[in-house]
């Protein structure tokens, strides 16, 4: 439902001194486009360097590994962060990156509780994520400049997994790294223009939650995770 749009927009147009325009798309001809030349000349290895340097500034641990060693590295990182309970996305990439054994056998055998986000379970998922010590998701797009992981939520990819647990680990395939938010925005806009339905919740997450509201002192971990780590994976 849309309420009172016409009278509202008529008034806006009247103030602008013309009749309302709701049908002719205004032409956007920008004189300036600094984003086109910001970090766009870097290759994937150089972007990884940018990401590595940025992670130091945002209190985020960056771990680099290969897809064959990923299982081992993830297991060690989880142990370092104090183990389960763990909340993860229901996401094919866990299988693609060879993590099935770790998730379905190794952890359960060691009494590490792992909960996969299953939409059909409804609010129970939220309760599990809230109890979780660690939330783990893949990054859909990774922004080198700001050290940001972009998550398209929906279905088995619950929004809460990256927000409610005390610690957060993002799995970052190296191929997902782009220079900056510009490239992610262009990709999302391209999908919108192509008529695709974009995720009803896109999160751009840059390190752990923080606040400077008390005497401008940076405090890490206010509402979201207290600690964050990115595991960058050399793709297969």
């Amino acid at each position: 439902m849309i309420h009172y749009r016409d009278s509202f927009l008529n008034n806006v147009a009247r103030q602008l001194g013309r009749s309302p325009n709701t049908s002719v798309k205004p032409e956007r001809s920008w004189q300036f486009r600094p984003q086109d030349k910001t970090l766009t000349d870097r290759n994937q290895d150089e972007l990884l360097t940018v990401l590595r340097d940025q992670c130091r500034l945002i209190h985020t641990e960056l771990i680099e590994t290969t897809s064959s060693k990923l299982s081992e590295v993830l297991e060690a990182t989880v142990t370092l962060y104090g183990g389960g309970p763990i909340s993860i996305w229901q996401d094919e990439r866990f299988t693609e990156f060879g993590l099935d054994t770790l998730v379905n056998e190794t952890w359960p055998a060691r009494y590490v509780e792992v909960n996969e986000w299953r939409a059909e379970r409804g609010r129970e998922n939220i309760a599990q994520a809230e109890r979780a010590n660690i939330g783990i998701t893949f990054s859909d797009i990774t922004l080198a400049e700001s050290g940001t992981v972009v998550l398209f939520a929906g279905g088995g990819k619950g929004r809460s997994v990256s927000l409610l647990p005390r610690n957060y680990i993002a799995l970052v395939p190296k191929s997902t790294i782009v220079p900056r938010m510009t490239q992610a925005a262009q990709e999302i806009s391209r999908r919108v223009q192509a008529g695709e339905t974009i995720s009803s919740c896109i999160n751009f997450i840059t390190g752990p939650s923080n606040s400077a509201d008390i005497e401008m002192n940076l405090v890490v971990g206010v509402h979201g995770p207290v600690k964050a780590a990115y595991i960058v994976i050399e793709d297969r």
Binding site: M1, R5, Q35, T38, A185, S211, H223, G224
Partner: protein, 476 residues
């Protein structure tokens, strides 16, 4: 609380707040940190002027085509199953939101920081309806606990409080027993608020920028509270000022980058979330019902006027962080939730000159605000314009200025009077002069010099100097 935060007169507020040495220290050091961080972030990005120009052209384009983009936004959000309400007044907005809350049987409402909901006084309305309204931004949470102390800064609302004061508030209101260490205070708030998040019925957020092409709203926080507010409650209401919109994700990205760098010197803040309507079929979190309330509340009256550029504002507070006047008088002196240079321009436009005609004078016109603005609003020129309007069209310049100008007019109008007056000036002002500045002037100068110094009349008049040098002839 609406836009106006107190009954005190501007000068009374200034007199009171200028004595508050803690507040002044806190403001000065916060300004220093925020200003330095912004400058560092701008330098690191490079081409800062080009980014500002791009931000400016995007904002100007949006304002000139606002009807098109708001129409498109509503259309696209409706396609995603969201409800859109266009509110011309604060009342209309509040009434609609109250109805949504009632229809959903909402009792507990969680909010993420939003200036426009402060402006329309939403919390008070909902509380009168018997709802519990909880602010989740740490700074706002502190203020709310402390008997609704008003915010004093757009980005860091509790900037005027020190950690001991905050500990005392926690001790009194939350039975807090630990120290005044910020980490301990923040973790305690985290535990308290986490329980509230899980049991809330309705989530209310503001909107940093809506995105027309996809019917989305974008939220920018460091704490992650906006994410939680929009994730857990069954119903979500987003309130946006009507000008806070961009055409596509591409412009969204540019403005978010300008906002986070200018506000806190970060490349991006920890959480930036775009929401496009309610959760989809097969989702287990996110709101089931989604409402967007687009608020005019006086903004359209600014469109098409000499003040239109003030609507370019992205609420980063960079102008506040460089303002020498704000530094001394603090945010509460402005009597508005919008303090500092941007507040001194915007508040009288939204709230009228009756209550706020003093604000355009709370400036030295030094232009630091204009230089800091990431979307190039000519703030000091707009302040000057306000003064022109107040004097010329409204005929209500401050009394002291009127008297002084009248006297100057009389004196300057006749040749002998001017000659005598300017000759006498230096001698007459001598008792009030210190290092060539008058800081405690007599008569009509008193009000002026109470808040700023006046250059002392030169002992040598320009005319005498000129005569002298003319006689000397050819002296290099």
């Amino acid at each position: 609380m609406a836009m106006k935060i107190g009954e005190g007169k501007f000068k009374e507020n200034v007199n009171k707040n200028i004595e508050d040495t803690f507040m002044r220290g806190a403001v000065a050091s916060a300004q220093e940190r925020l200003r330095t961080r912004r400058l560092d972030a701008a330098e690191e990005l490079g081409n800062w002027e080009e980014w500002r120009s791009h931000g400016e052209e995007i904002r100007q384009h949006v304002l000139n085509n606002l009807d098109y983009y708001l129409h498109e936004l509503a259309e696209n959000l409706q396609k995603r199953g969201g409800h859109v309400f266009f509110a011309e007044t604060a009342d209309e907005a509040n009434r609609y939101i109250s109805e949504v809350v009632k229809a959903n049987g909402g009792k507990k409402i969680l909010k993420a920081k939003s200036m426009v909901t402060e402006e329309i006084g939403l919390n008070g309305v909902l509380e009168e309806e018997g709802c519990e309204v909880i602010e989740t931004d740490l700074g706002e949470y502190i203020l709310q606990l402390d008997e609704h102390d008003p915010p004093s800064h757009l980005v860091a609302p509790a900037l005027h409080k020190n950690k001991e004061q905050i500990r005392d508030v926690f001790t009194q209101k939350l039975d807090y027993k630990m120290t005044s260490k910020p980490e301990e205070l923040a973790l305690y708030a985290r535990e308290k608020l986490r329980q509230e998040f899980l049991s809330a019925d309705i989530g209310i957020t503001g909107c940093n920028f809506a995105i027309a092409e996809s019917g989305s709203v974008g939220l920018v926080t460091n704490e992650g509270n906006a994410g939680l507010v929009s994730d857990l409650p069954k119903t979500q209401v987003v309130v946006m000022g009507m000008e806070r919109i961009v055409p596509t994700f591409e412009e969204f990205e540019v403005l978010v980058g300008l906002l986070t760098r200018s506000a806190v010197g970060q490349k991006l803040t920890s959480y930036i979330t775009t929401l496009s309507g309610p959760r989809e079929e097969g989702d287990a979190d996110g709101p089931e019902e989604f409402h967007l309330v687009i608020v005019d509340n006086g903004r359209s009256k600014i469109l098409g006027t000499e003040f239109q550029s003030v609507l370019q504002c992205i609420r980063c507070a960079a102008c506040i962080n460089v303002c020498p006047v704000y530094r001394h008088i603090g945010g509460h002196s402005y009597n508005s939730i919008y303090p500092g240079p941007i507040g001194a321009v915007l508040t009288p436009l939204l709230g009228g000159y009756d209550d706020f005609k003093d604000l355009p004078y709370a400036s030295t016109l030094c232009a630091a605000c204009t230089d800091a603005c990431p979307v190039k609003i000519p703030l000091h020129e707009l302040l000057h314009k306000h003064r022109q309007v107040i004097v010329e069209r409204e005929g209500r310049a401050p009394v002291s200025e009127k008297l002084a100008m009248k006297a100057f007019g009389l004196g300057a109008a006749s040749n002998p009077m001017y000659a005598a007056g300017s000759k006498m000036a230096a001698a007459m002002m001598k008792p009030f002069t210190k290092n060539d500045r008058i800081s405690n002037g007599p008569g009509p100068l008193k009000a002026w010099t109470e808040i700023r110094e006046f250059p002392a009349p030169n002992r040598e008049r320009f005319r005498d100097w000129f005569k002298q040098h003319e006689k000397g002839g050819g002296e290099q």
